[in-house]
């Protein structure tokens, strides 16, 4: 607690300095609150997201004509608000739904942010967005995929990422294609943690396969941040499913990879639902023993000189990491929010909400491979889409499906180590 207070005081001091000098030099600042896991089991994700948002702020607040059609890149600041700068107030959710809720409350009531952005884990997004809804502040979510988040009848909640129902369809189609090429995909096992993300995504996927007439053969649950998963891996080894779909955060994803190696178990097809498997630290830690794992993504770096490649370079310079799908979706979401504030021409919550509702971005205005950004009545981006990537060499993911977007053909079976 002590540390937190000290850093809180430092932040406050820094902010008051910023405000004092800002009042003279810069006419206007738009504050956006970002709730991210800066500590806890997914702290690496929070650190990467922070770097990504800092790059996004740089792109918005400074002139970047090289980024072409990307909204807000060309000129410095938000033109709609007389060149106002965007400033992100970072808040740590500790990976904990209750903490996320408190942070949302603090950002809205103390920091008076114009909008809230976050919160990575679906379970934390669930609670923190409820606070924003109560206070009538726009909440933009760019990476939580639990389907129920947009089924709550919220008026202030907007989500840019493809969600569980979208990938469930991608997974069924992908596996059907694999089956057509001769792979065995009859028995499918789901492995997931007990968080909001794990259970709800597992449910959605299991429903999607059931609707296709192929019920899930095995459902293996485990507690998040597990200390040991030997039991779960042995269960899989015993039942021998053809396909395993992993729904795990980074820490557990690493532990599963290590345990599968030590117990010498490889399924024919290992398909991961993003999250931990997209974390660069997963690839560094156990990529070499997870060769051939499939994953979903909406990110493709593109040819050099393209806006996405330039952004990937900027991100790498800032964080020292390769750009991955998660930070890409976060940056994309942040741009959508900033664009809405710019079009609203005001920090009035109702005007930002109206601008978000009117959002209609085309694929060429995006850095991610979505078909566009357009929200339905529930606040879900109906044009979000994704593809399947594979960690063929244990170092870099390449897109393998659908064929139209594939850099390489998928290789089977799962190689492991």
């Amino acid at each position: 607690m002590t540390l937190k207070h000290v850093s809180g005081l430092l932040c406050a001091a820094a902010m008051s300095f910023g405000l004092a000098s800002g009042a003279q030099a810069q006419d206007k600042v738009v504050k956006i609150g970002a709730i991210l896991p800066m500590s806890g089991g997914t702290a690496s994700i929070g650190a990467h997201a922070k770097a990504a948002l800092e790059v996004a702020m740089d792109i918005i607040n400074n002139a970047h004509p090289e980024l072409g059609n990307l909204p807000l890149a060309k000129n410095a600041g938000l033109a709609g608000l007389g060149g106002a700068r965007i400033e992100v107030v970072f808040a740590d959710n500790q990976g904990n739904p209750a903490t996320g809720q408190n942070q949302a409350l603090r950002l809205i009531t103390e920091d008076k942010v114009a909008a809230v952005f976050g919160s990575y884990q679906s379970g934390v997004t669930l609670t923190s967005s409820a606070i924003a809804e109560k206070y009538g502040i726009p909440f933009l979510n760019s990476e939580s995929v639990a389907a129920n988040l947009t089924e709550r009848g919220f008026k202030w909640f907007f989500r840019t990422t493809p969600i569980a129902t979208d990938f469930a369809k991608i997974y069924t189609d992908f596996l059907a294609d694999m089956k057509a090429t001769g792979a065995k995909t009859d028995a499918i096992a789901l492995v997931h943690d007990n968080t909001e993300y794990g259970t709800s995504v597992a449910n959605t996927i299991s429903t999607a396969f059931k609707d296709k007439g192929q019920p899930i053969a095995l459902d293996v649950a485990y507690p998040v941040n597990a200390t040991d998963v030997q039991g779960q891996v042995l269960q899989l080894k015993d039942k021998k499913p053809d396909v395993i779909i992993m729904i795990s955060y980074t820490s557990d994803a690493i532990l599963f990879a290590k345990t599968m190696q030590s117990l010498d178990y490889k399924p024919a097809i290992l398909l991961a639902d993003d999250a931990g498997y997209s974390d660069p630290s997963f690839i560094k830690a156990v990529g070499k023993i997870s060769q051939g794992v499939f994953n979903r993504s909406s990110w493709a770096v593109g040819p050099s000189g393209s806006p996405s490649a330039i952004i990937a370079d900027m991100y790498k310079k800032k964080s020292g990491e390769e750009m991955d799908d998660t930070v890409g979706r976060q940056m994309q979401g942040f741009f959508v929010l900033a664009d809405a504030i710019d079009r609203a021409g005001s920090t009035d919550p109702a005007k930002i909400q109206a601008a978000l509702k009117a959002t209609d971005l085309k694929p060429e205005q995006l850095m991610m491979g979505y078909k566009g950004v357009k929200f339905d009545d529930k606040g879900q981006n109906v044009l979000a889409s994704g593809l399947i990537i594979q960690l063929q060499d244990g170092e870099n993911y390449v897109s393998v499906w659908p064929k139209a977007n594939a850099e390489k053909a998928p290789t089977l079976p799962y190689r492991g180590w």
Binding site: M1, T2, L3, M38, S39, G40, G41, A43, S44, G46, A47, N225, T227, D228, Q230, G231, L234, Q235, K237, D238, T250, S251, I254, L255, K258, Q261, S262, L263, D264, D279, P280, S281, F282, K284, A285, V286
Partner: protein, 233 residues
């Protein structure tokens, strides 16, 4: 089916031995001084980082990393005793809880600051492999940790029951004032206890690092297991 059962039992026993190893330090401090060290999990984490740094800088695997982690953590234990524990022991229970909890946060976030939040993993080394005995798969790193755990537990038991140092430590635990009258310095004894406890914890961390991921918050995950094993056993 029975094969799976046997494999689960073997895996469980090895895991239990590892839990015993990293709980032994907590038991010692708790039993001798009646202090619950909330920073225990973070001592394990520091041991893991020492092993990682030793391996990546100098190579040598657990043969070099484990003794160094033991020594570094034992030193830290003495420093922590004189800088923090000696004073908060005089205070109320709340001071002990807040003091060691604060220490936990200080250690955890210092590591965050220095190493960042990324997950690390030991490169493959001499105990990184797995071997099979009659179809049962046994991880060398876990076996090593399990065997060392048993030896350390046995060693601590013998130290406390068979040596004069152990008797003196137990005397201080029983009645510090009376022990002082007998010419035993409680400060020294308790500092030694902290050195042993932290050293054993560092050793545990270095051995666990061979088969677990390394991240600044790993102490939270493992610390809970340590508290459960101490309370239950």
């Amino acid at each position: 089916m029975s094969f799976v059962l046997v494999q689960v039992i073997v895996g469980g026993l090895l895991l239990g031995a590892v839990y015993a190893l990293f709980s032994s330090g907590l038991t010692l401090v708790w039993g001798m001084m009646n202090i619950v060290n909330f920073a225990h999990g973070d001592f394990v984490m520091l041991g893991m980082y020492v092993a990682y740094v030793v391996y990546t800088l100098m190579g040598g695997g657990p043969l070099l990393g484990a003794p160094l982690a033991t020594q570094e953590l034992a030193t830290l234990g003495v420093v922590v005793y004189f800088a923090l524990i000696r004073d908060i022991m005089k205070g109320p229970m709340l001071a002990q809880i807040l003091g060691t909890f604060g220490l936990a946060l200080l250690l955890r976030y210092s590591v965050f600051w220095w190493f960042g939040a990324n997950f690390l993993s030991m490169p493959q080394n001499i105990v990184g492999g797995t071997f099979a005995v009659a179809g049962l798969r046994i991880e060398a790193s876990r076996l090593l940790a399990g065997v060392v755990a048993l030896l350390v537990t046995l060693g601590l038991h013998l130290l406390l029951t068979r040596t004069s140092l152990g008797s003196r430590m137990l005397a201080v635990a029983e009645d510090a004032t009376a022990a002082q009258l007998m010419g035993i310095r409680p400060d020294t004894m308790q500092a030694i206890a902290w050195a042993i406890a932290a050293g054993a914890t560092g050793l545990a961390g270095a051995l666990i690092a061979n088969f677990f991921y390394i991240v600044p918050t790993v102490g939270e995950t493992l610390g809970i297991v340590a508290f459960v094993s101490v309370s239950a056993g």
